[in-house]
Amino acid sequence: MKIDYFISWICQALFIVALVSGIPLVFAYHPQHAFESVQKITYIIPFGLFFRKLHYFSSELLLIFVIFHVIVELFFSYNKPKAKPDYLFGGLAFVVIVFLMFSGYVLKADQNGQSAALVAQNMIGDNVFLKYLNIFLVDSFSFYWKYFLWHIFFLPFLFFLVIFYHAKKVLPKVGFVSIALAISIISMLFLKMPKDIPFNLTPKHLTGPWFFEGVENMLKMNVNVDVAILLGFFPFVALMFYKNETRFKTVINTLLILWVVFYVTISLV
């Protein structure tokens, strides 16, 4: 099997592992008492920590493999006469995964999660076009309620929809699910999950998820919010309008390489 097919199948399998490992967590999570319920899952409920870690690492691996998938497809792709890739839905699926991971980051409901949500709401609120979207995030009663709905219902549903149009298949092969489960468990054994920051601590520094580190650093440098959003989401926009036969393929590929160099650099500053 060629490497590009292998990575695509692994991506779908990792999504299934993340989805299934998230189901037990949904029953123990209460948006009204978000932080307390996360701590209960982690320290009190039997196998709670196992499922939380499995959910976390399978999602992280999913994003990493999706990035591999994009790199392989754009820069090392072969001619695929039968399976014509759909970049519009592929790009949308990528965006959905990023938002799924972001909402998951918020839902851990510690100081990092809360500040990530506040920053996102303010960034969206500052943008002329996006500010109306804040009604889908901001909640006057329970801070995490809408993030919870996005994370467990709307975004997974949207993911299945776009992946169906992108890959023409929704359910992965069982063998790949076993591989995805195995690499997630191996990651659980050798890597550590970031610690939750409770509200009785006053940390010197709070941070968002690692994939938004570049956007965070741009904000610290007083870059305009709209510019930060545009620079942060450039590859998704580029992917959605990407076609193999386009005469701008080389230009877009070059811009994407430049973007990666820029974003990695600014993330590490």
Binding site: Q121, M123, P203, K204, L206, L219
Partner: protein, 126 residues
């Protein structure tokens, strides 16, 4: 009814529900009146943070000052540094003094000061 017809009817319904739900919350949010009452007896420190309302209340010899604890840059909750007598944003590093004025960092505006009344030994905000 076959599966295709069933999904054709159910999926648009779910879509409408998905759009109606946040709209309902938004309307409810507009109808919510925010009024905070804090007993003055609870303010036994020069600076008190109320986590529930995300506000700082400063008590000095001139009276009281109430600041919204959200940073004016991106809305993170600022911390109070008792040693340096400063408010510091842990997200992007903006720093404010006890008057709420911005000293450094990406924030451009001072901390938002809230108006209040004293009613029956309570600070009433909003």
């Amino acid at each position: 009814m076959n599966r295709r017809d069933f999904l054709g009817k159910v999926l648009p319904g779910l879509g409408i529900l998905a759009l109606a739900f946040p709209f309902y919350y938004f309307v409810e949010y507009l109808n919510t009146k925010k009024r905070i009452e804090i007993p003055i007896d609870e303010l036994n420190k020069p600076i008190t943070f109320f986590d529930e309302y995300k506000i700082f209340i400063i008590k000095n010899r001139f009276g009281y000052k109430i600041f919204d604890a959200h940073c004016t840059h991106m809305g993170c909750i600022v911390n109070y540094d008792d040693k340096n007598k400063l408010f510091e944003c842990p997200c992007h590093g903006s720093v404010f003094n006890l008057k709420g004025e911005r000293l450094k960092g990406p924030a451009r505006k001072p901390l938002k000061q809230l108006t209040f009344k004293i009613v029956r030994n309570n600070l009433v905000i909003g």
